[in-house]
């Protein structure tokens, strides 16, 4: 390839790749630099690892890391787990399948904050759910369900919000599997679960990986669900970043960089794990 052709290719790539590299690159660079004491907004910039040491020493930080990973991993797994049966059910069109598909994707249109407030209204102390449970006689008095310590509320919201996205990706992949392949497997005695494990899941692996990774990245950085419906005895990384920014931009940058590293490493691990489980040594 001549230098002229190289230059042409680079120029053609510039509008897309250049924008990504320059804009995202600048943000990442500033975040990393700030986490080491540079770009100080309130005083002198001095290179130091003190902000990392300070945050690594705080229980608030380590809890936020494990909590965000917990939310990210389980949100991705639950959303995909709920989406798969629906994608298989909707694989072949039937009367009403388009309407059902549209209804299932409705949560995509609801903004996260709105969903969180609606959820809180439903499960609040005197909310509809508590009233229902008392009306049917299962509970004698209202129960405090808001901001539960196990973050079940946040996982419910994440799954509810992300399942349609996983469904969107998986439906296309599952529909692309030829009937002949599934019929052949059935003829050879494969049951429902065996057909899913050995045919459908491996053939839709790319879509599953994409769903897992994208949902994980969004959920690990969750802010809106956490601050409204999450437990009050721990913080997500995004929440912690906003919280510590009140006193130190540098410590907030440490949290931000941590978030980016976890998103990147976690995505890779999830994608690799899914591949190993479905196509690797664990698939037999």
């Amino acid at each position: 390839m001549t230098w002229r052709r190289c230059a042409t290719v680079l120029l053609l790539l510039m509008p897309g790749l250049g924008l990504i590299v320059s804009l995202i690159g600048m943000v990442v660079y500033v975040a990393i630099a700030q986490s080491f004491g540079l770009y100080n907004l309130n005083g002198d910039s001095v290179f130091t690892v003190a902000h990392w040491a300070e945050m690594l020493d705080r229980k608030l930080y380590t809890r936020a890391v494990t909590y965000s990973i917990y939310i990210g991993v389980w949100s991705a797994i639950l959303a995909v787990a709920f989406a798969y049966p629906l994608a298989i059910w909707l694989r072949k069109p039937f009367r009403g399948s388009i309407i059902i598909g549209a209804i299932l994707k409705a949560p995509l249109l609801v903004q996260g904050l709105v969903a969180a407030f609606l959820f809180i209204n439903v499960i609040s102390y005197h909310g509809i759910f508590n009233q229902l449970m008392q009306a049917i006689g299962l509970w004698d008095e209202p129960r405090r369900l808001q901001n539960d310590r196990g973050a079940i509320g946040v996982l419910f919201l994440q799954t509810w919000k992300n399942m349609p996205f996983a469904l969107l990706l998986l439906t296309g992949a599952v529909q692309a599997i030829p009937d002949d392949v599934l019929d052949a497997a059935r003829d050879m005695g494969a049951g429902t679960f065996a057909r899913f494990r050995k045919i459908i899941a491996p053939l839709s692996l790319s879509a599953m990986q994409a769903a897992l990774v994208i949902i994980f990245i969004g959920a690990v950085a969750d802010f809106s669900f956490q601050v409204i419906a999450g437990p009050t005895n721990r913080q997500s990384l995004a929440q912690l970043m906003v919280f510590v920014r009140q006193t130190s931009w540098h410590e907030a940058a440490v949290v931000g960089v941590t978030l980016m590293v976890i998103a990147l490493a976690g995505s890779l691990l999830l994608a690799i794990a899914a591949r190993l489980i479905l196509k690797g040594p664990f698939s037999r």
């Binding site: 405090r144 601050v227 906003v242």
Partner: protein
């Protein structure tokens, strides 16, 4: 070529307008009438205030009608507005004409370097530029008195039974588990509560901002009050969450801001029968202030607006509309939620950096251990 010329001309014109709009005007030698005239030429003032934006907009219409100057109140958070002010301090002309911020927050930065002196305002001894140990140094004036205390549901807690001491609070938690809630983030009422409980139970001087292991160890002894009865109180998500759950009947007592509660009651968003008091062990009180950044685009209009905002008449109006404690000596304070006698229980905000270190330790040792 025609497009290029048009673009260059447009850029030059906009740069010219921006230059003409630059704030490098020294008003210290101007008469007040000249300042008002210049303010009317400027035509608008942008007030960055982080709360009640929708309620301030109708209130400032009186100013707009009196001076013919438009007041623009953008949406934004307190942190976002102050970050913006700091981020654009190097710009020749910024976007902020008047910045509202907690008076004790102004105390964390060099106000003389970032904000214009307010010596251009007409003489008025009634204005408040220094409050509870926080000095605006002639660059910041208080416009909004605020007070933290405890909001309670009179349907469940009688006035005579209101907890007044640390022991009373602990007894209330024991007798009514799960009926007292407070926040540790997203609002200062909860932090005011737990810090004053710690101060009252240990005797630590929160006005001393020095951080040392010895002082933290003294303060941490006060954490026992919270750890011993961790299951008897609720940690809420924010100031708003506390008040919402009180109004809903789930909680009976929550720390709150006097002005916040009064504002929500006036707008019908919270039950009107909810009451408020300042316990005898004391809770933080203070004020929000306003200042004009050095690079304010409309400095004269900003000065005229601050003059109006901190006047006795406007402070009386705020008291009647929002229930705030007036920040002018000659204003009427009859519409406040608490009596002047109770205001004696007001304590000044603890000084930084010790207050921050105390909050950090409280979160690590109390909140995360629940």
């Amino acid at each position: 070529m025609k497009t290029l010329l048009t673009s260059v001309t447009a850029f030059a014109l906009s740069a010219g307008i921006a230059w003409a709009d630059s704030p490098a005007t020294d008003m210290s030698n101007m008469s007040w009438d000249d300042i008002v005239a210049q303010a009317q030429d400027e035509g608008q003032v942008t007030w960055y205030v982080w709360y009640f934006q929708d309620r301030f907009r109708p209130v400032v219409e009186a100013f707009e009608a009196e001076y013919g100057i438009d007041v623009i109140i953008p949406e934004g958070t307190g942190q976002g507005n102050s970050d913006k002010m700091l981020a654009e301090k190097g710009r020749e002309t910024g976007d902020i004409d008047v910045l509202a911020w907690g008076l004790n927050d102004f105390d964390t930065i060099d106000v003389t370097a970032l904000f214009q002196p307010l010596n251009m305002l007409p003489e008025d001894d009634g204005r408040v530029g220094e409050l509870l140990g926080v000095d605006g140094k002639g660059h910041v004036l208080a416009y909004w008195g605020n007070q933290t205390g405890i909001a309670y549901d009179p349907a469940h807690v009688a006035q005579v039974d209101l907890p007044q001491t640390v022991e009373d609070i602990a007894a209330f938690w024991g007798e009514h588990p799960g009926k007292f809630g407070f926040n540790y983030e997203k609002g200062g009422s909860g932090p005011s509560f737990f810090q004053n409980i710690i101060r009252a139970s240990t005797g630590i001087d929160l006005m001393d901002g020095e951080v040392s292991d010895e002082r933290l160890a003294v303060a941490e002894a006060g954490f026992d009050v919270f750890t011993a009865q961790a299951d008897d109180y609720v940690v809420t998500a924010s100031n708003v969450d506390s008040i919402t759950r009180l109004s809903d009947g789930e909680l009976w007592m929550v720390p709150a801001w006097e002005d916040h509660l009064a504002g929500l009651q006036n707008s019908g968003e919270v039950r009107a029968d909810i009451k408020f008091y300042i316990p005898e062990f004391g809770m933080y009180g203070g004020a929000n202030g306003v200042a004009v950044p050095m690079n304010a685009p409309h400095p004269a209009a900003a000065a005229v607006f601050i003059n109006w905002l901190t006047s006795a008449d406007t402070q009386t109006l705020f008291n009647q509309t929002f229930g705030t404690a007036p920040m002018h000596a000659k204003a009427d304070d009859s519409a406040a939620l608490v009596s002047n006698a109770q205001r004696a229980n007001q304590t000044p905000w603890g000084n930084q950096p010790f207050r921050g270190a105390l909050e950090k330790a409280f979160i690590e040792q109390v909140i995360l251990e629940r």
